[in-house]
Amino acid sequence: MSATLTQETGFSRDAVVALSEMKNEPTWLRDARLQAWDVYESIPMPARTDEEWRRTDVRALKLGNLHPFSPNGHKEPSLESLLSGFEKGGVTDRDAQAGILVQKDAATAWAEANPALVDQGVIYCDIDTAAREHEELFKQYFMTQAVPVDFGKFEALHAALWQGGSFLYVPKGVSIEEPFRSFTTSTHPANSVFTHTLIVLEQGAEAFLVDAYGSETFEGQSLASGVVELILGKASKLRYVQMQDWGRDMWSFMTERATLASDATLNSLHVTLGSRFSKSSIGSHLQGEDALAEMLGISFADGDQFFDHHTWQLHESPYATSDLEFKTALKENARTVYSGLIKVSEGAQKTDAYQQNRNLVLSREARADSIPNLEIAANDVRCTHGATISQVVPEHIFYLQARGVPYTEAQKLIVEGFFRPVIDRIPVEEIQGFLEGAIARKVGI
């Protein structure tokens, strides 16, 4: 089989067929891709008249110049070389991980899972492998429940052109403490990366997965269109961390939905640092009683970056709790939008929902918008939300300087302090260290 490099640019039905052929896919899978392509074609490009896209202008993204996928890469000689671009987000202690997957462009370049876990029925593999070897699970969960194919324009395109990605399945009652680490990277200019994360936890299962996206900055524009589906069975527990550090050519779209059955607990953290443009839609469907979703966000935008985070706390069952805290720092000409909705369905009594968005603006030119929303159809609920947009307090800088700390370091301390309460909620030292380093780099030390 020769890997055909598509030199063509622009998205087309032919590109979908070419990708499916390159991957030697069975007919049913190719047909599913083509059906998704039809859905993509039937949905208009989001316009600024759509509420969710009101502050988000995608007109500057020239889809016609992009390669719909890049060729199947060969496996790299070493994990170290594959992860060299991920700085401290990389794996420092390989034995402390439950499994490692690396997606390079359209293909999987590394895959390993702890054999002891595999013996217990745990599956950790890329989505291509999942479709081939775990067809039933794939058909049951892949873009059927959390993020259906017709969710939106970019989600449909994703369903037609997904590649690589991670599938984690944890059977009933199996609990894993060590993290699964998935890395996705892009190595060509004008590339498109459609990475997919699908996590299914059966009843009482516990797992922890860290998704890291990163690349160097290439000329022109690239596209990352990711979908994350988190399916939490009864009383299962998932910790999910996503760290986005794409190159500055990247236009990143990411749609994530979690579904939580009763007594399930989700702890998620989204870290947004890279890309030219980033639009993330992050939602939790609280479908069972006593479900708990903790949703945290840290983003730091600089230069001409544009970040847009939309969050959804969807209370569909009584007695569930959601606790959201998203924090953004901005400098230079950066522009950010946060928009969050707490939606309580009729009958979701005793909902406890909390939403907080704080923005720290470090320059005159940067601009943050924060739009909290409540939509409540039940009468016995507690919903609290708050949004702040503030600047560094000069007295804080002066106090630190008066103790011998130079201006830039004082600013760094203050920005780190701004994020600290969120960082402290992640009980993983490796990630805390990565975040501290990333913040220091962004402040400009």
């Binding site: 300087q401 008066a402 103790r403 130079p406 301390l413 302090g417 600290r420």
Partner: protein, 270 residues
Amino acid sequence: MSKTPLFEVENLHVSIEDKEILKGIDLTVNDGEVHALMGPNGSGKSTLAYVIAGHPDYEVTEGTIRYKGEDILEWSPDERAQKGLFLAFQYPTVIPGVSMASFLRMAVKNVREARAEEIALNGGEAKPFTPREFRKLMREKMEMLKMDDSFATRYLNEGFSGGEKKRAEILQMALLEPQLAVLDETDSGLDIDALKVVSEGVNALHDSSDMAMLLITHYQRLLNYIKPDYVHIVMDGRIVREGGPELALELEEKGYENIRKDVAAAAAGN
């Protein structure tokens, strides 16, 4: 010629938002001396403290401040701290999310590095300072000030009581080992036990080095614990009386109003 004084304020005029607050202050402090600066509320004591520390909002319209013979007015606040000036704030700032320990480590590192550079310039060699030594020093000083261990992990001044904030200021002073410390109403907000502990700490630092101090207070109380060599009384932006420790007692007895009248009478008599 006599030795250059450690610190000299000469004819200092300071304005904020075009309002003149200090109207010609003169003050000289030598190594190891303890000066008390007393005066009623609003007389400009904190303004002087801020100007010494380099607060950007205050404008010096006339006069100079010299430290070891050098004009410091162009120095940034961090440079001043690195060279050995210290201000214990009357109202210490709360900085959310910044832990006391990480902040102190950064402060001490910067001040020590600057000092090491200075020592190197003079042909000497500074002892390296390890994180371990830092922790030891911090524990020692916290013990001296009877501070709880949990304090190091708390955020900077967040949720601290008035007394805890003042102790925290003195802890910072103890770690930074300044050559001139300005203590702005460190006694206010302290109960008598806390005042004793803090004063003992301050005295210990003073006795073990040639640190000079400018104690700003409007009560005599603090001076029972920390003995000044000189007392200056400031009113309406000017030093109106100067003397030894007995002046503080006279002030305590008479009150500011009578001192003000004395000064006015003396001025009228001239």
